[in-house]
């Protein structure tokens, strides 16, 4: 004879195991989704290029971004966080990654768009090495699942050169 406590225990355990397995399966099948992201980005205008009071250089600009992220969405995708990083190398630092624009894509319907925006965060350097510097614009995206493993990837989109003098 089973007591009600035992029945409850079995039920709860079974439900928890089932949920865990479903989460695992959902996340596992996400691995089979091969996504191909297309996009272009261009710097329309450099708005500001100057030295901050602390001696670090700062750049703000207008961007023209066109993206198609539809293939990143599966039924286990809650949202896709996408951002544009300005990447460059200086004498001091081997890696500089500065996020200059980001956006949260809530669903597949909003995953294809074209927008002209000012940079959300200024491009800053540690020091002042930016004059005439080649800047790579790399698109990064972070697929956040409803449950399970998070997936990250990136795609270099274009590059541009900063002017030789402050604006």
């Amino acid at each position: 004879m089973h007591t009600s406590v035992q029945r409850l225990n079995t039920l709860v355990t079974f439900a928890a195991v089932l949920l865990a397995v479903l989460c695992g399966v959902a996340s596992f099948f996400d691995g089979f989704n091969t996504h191909s992201v297309h996009g272009t980005v261009e710097v329309v205008k450099i708005r500001k290029f100057r030295k901050q009071l602390n001696g670090n250089e700062e750049v703000t600009m207008n961007l023209n971004i066109s993206l198609d992220m539809q293939s990143t969405f599966t039924w286990n995708t809650k949202q896709v966080f996408v951002f544009l990083a300005a990447e460059f190398e200086t004498e001091k630092n081997v890696v500089n990654q500065i996020s200059i624009w980001d956006h949260i894509i809530p669903d597949k319907e909003h995953a294809k768009f074209q927008t002209q925006v000012p940079s959300k965060y200024p491009l800053t350097d540690q020091g002042s090495n930016l004059k005439g510097k080649k800047i790579d614009l790399v698109l990064h995206w972070h697929i956040m699942p409803k449950s399970g493993k998070m997936i990250q990837d990136k795609l270099p989109l274009s590059h541009f050169y900063l002017p030789e003098a402050y604006l």
Binding site: V5, C23, S27, K78, Q79, F81, F83, A85, E91, K92, N93, V94, V95, N96, Q97, I98, S99, D102, I104, P106, Y121, T124, Q126, H140, H142, M144, P145, K146, S147, G148, K149, M150, Q152, K154
Partner: protein
């Protein structure tokens, strides 16, 4: 004197064996929980392999009560990763996204700036006074996995300790009184 010996015998054969079994099974539960936790620590390389999201600063990605699985590898921190970090003078670790990375040429040291997806500004206001960057030693791990809602159990238990004691008491009672 015979009845005392008989009584002792019956106690020894029934009670002690049963009590011992229950003590052992309780011990098994506690130690297996410990094994799982320490095993996760070994596998993930992070001192706390699972964290509960406590604030809404990463919404709508992470809500309060979601749990994150952390991993700490030797790979350098890069922009876009969601890291869990400690700030000097703050007890509770923070889960935010890396938005700026500077890595030194010779030493390979990193300077990292973070921001919550749902926050307006970056995290310099949250850091210790005068601190501009996070270094590698502030970072406890990067988030690799996500499970919704499960963390509410711990949130409720830390905010309403009575429920925690009731639960522990009830579970303990169940273990002790169970006959199998």
């Amino acid at each position: 004197m015979g009845w005392i010996a008989d009584g002792m015998e019956s106690i020894r054969s029934l009670q002690i064996r049963q009590v011992l079994t229950q003590v052992v099974s309780l011990g098994m539960i506690v130690t297996s929980a410990l094994i799982i936790w320490k095993g996760l620590m070994c596998v993930t390389g992070s001192e706390s392999p699972v964290v509960v999201v406590l604030s809404g600063s990463m919404e709508p990605g992470f809500k309060r009560g979601d749990i994150l699985f952390l991993h700490m590898s030797k790979d350098p921190i890069r922009a876009g990763e969601i890291v869990v970090f400690n700030v000097d003078g703050r007890e509770i670790p923070i889960v935010h996204r890396v938005i700026k990375v500077h890595e030194r040429q010779e030493t390979g040291e990193v300077d990292v700036l973070t921001k919550g997806d749902n926050n307006f500004g970056d995290d310099r206001l949250l850091y210790a006074r005068g601190q501009l960057w996070l270094q590698q030693h502030h970072i406890m791990g990067r988030a690799v996995g996500f499970l919704p809602y499960v963390g509410w159990v711990t949130i409720i238990m830390t905010e309403k300790p009575i429920i925690k004691y009731l639960l522990i008491g009830a579970l303990g009672l169940l273990v002790i009184t169970s006959k199998e």
